[in-house]
Symmetry: C2
Subunit: 136 residues, 2 copies
């Protein structure tokens, strides 16, 4: 098992204890946390942590391509340490975000691919997740 220190060593980022704690929290995390989710959890073990540090660390990781900033939740940004190609489902009731595997998406008319430079594509699904569906 690779430690986050080894994993993020050569990015040109200083690995402070705060950052290592944030990276530990994010590593393999499938919950798509908000900045505040990260802050609340990491500050349990690191009480001096500041929310501003969480934001700047997320910004630095995003610039290095190590985290995705998701805009699927209308209320706040959510973060995803899994940067491989996949899509997302958000439950409109509990706001859980769940990974959806990406199949071969061919949904872009060829006439458009000539004029545009497409850098990312992302499918966003919304509805009721299995838990909320059962309660309804």
């Amino acid at each position: 098992m690779m430690t986050v220190i080894a994993k993020y060593r050569n990015l040109g980022l200083k690995l402070t204890p705060q950052r290592i704690a944030i990276l530990d929290y994010l590593d393999g995390n499938k919950r798509h946390p908000s900045a505040e989710d990260i802050y609340l959890d990491v500050s349990k073990k690191f009480p001096t942590l500041s929310l501003a540090t969480v934001y700047t660390t997320l910004g630095a990781l995003r610039e290095k391509g190590k985290v995705l900033e998701l805009t699927i939740d209308p209320d706040k940004k959510r973060y995803d340490p899994e940067t491989g190609k996949h899509n997302h489902f958000i439950c409109i009731l509990c706001k859980r975000i769940i990974d959806i595997p990406a199949t071969n998406l061919i949904d872009f008319p060829e006439a458009i691919t000539q004029d545009y430079c497409i850098i990312t594509s992302h499918v966003e699904y919304s509805g009721h997740c299995p838990e909320c569906k059962n309660i309804l």
Copy 2:
């Protein structure tokens, strides 16, 4: 040509002059404006308009399914009066949002459609629009 008054008459919304002006601005508008865009334009002809009125009108229209709230722009919400099925492209430089026709999207593993209740799906593309691509 149908006036917006005829178009929105039977929604149970009071058609005040402010709302009619907002509806006129939105009708057929392909620019995916923000609340402030709407406010700035409509208040030219309606100087007493309040930004709060724009927000509450957009909220009422959204509840009636007459406008979509887009979260594709990380900076603010954008609104779309075209509620038929289509997708969006956002230019990461100029923030223009452009409609992309939806093809038959079959990108959801069947195992998942059984457990989830999918209400909406939306493909979000980002990159450089034709104008910005030419400048680069």
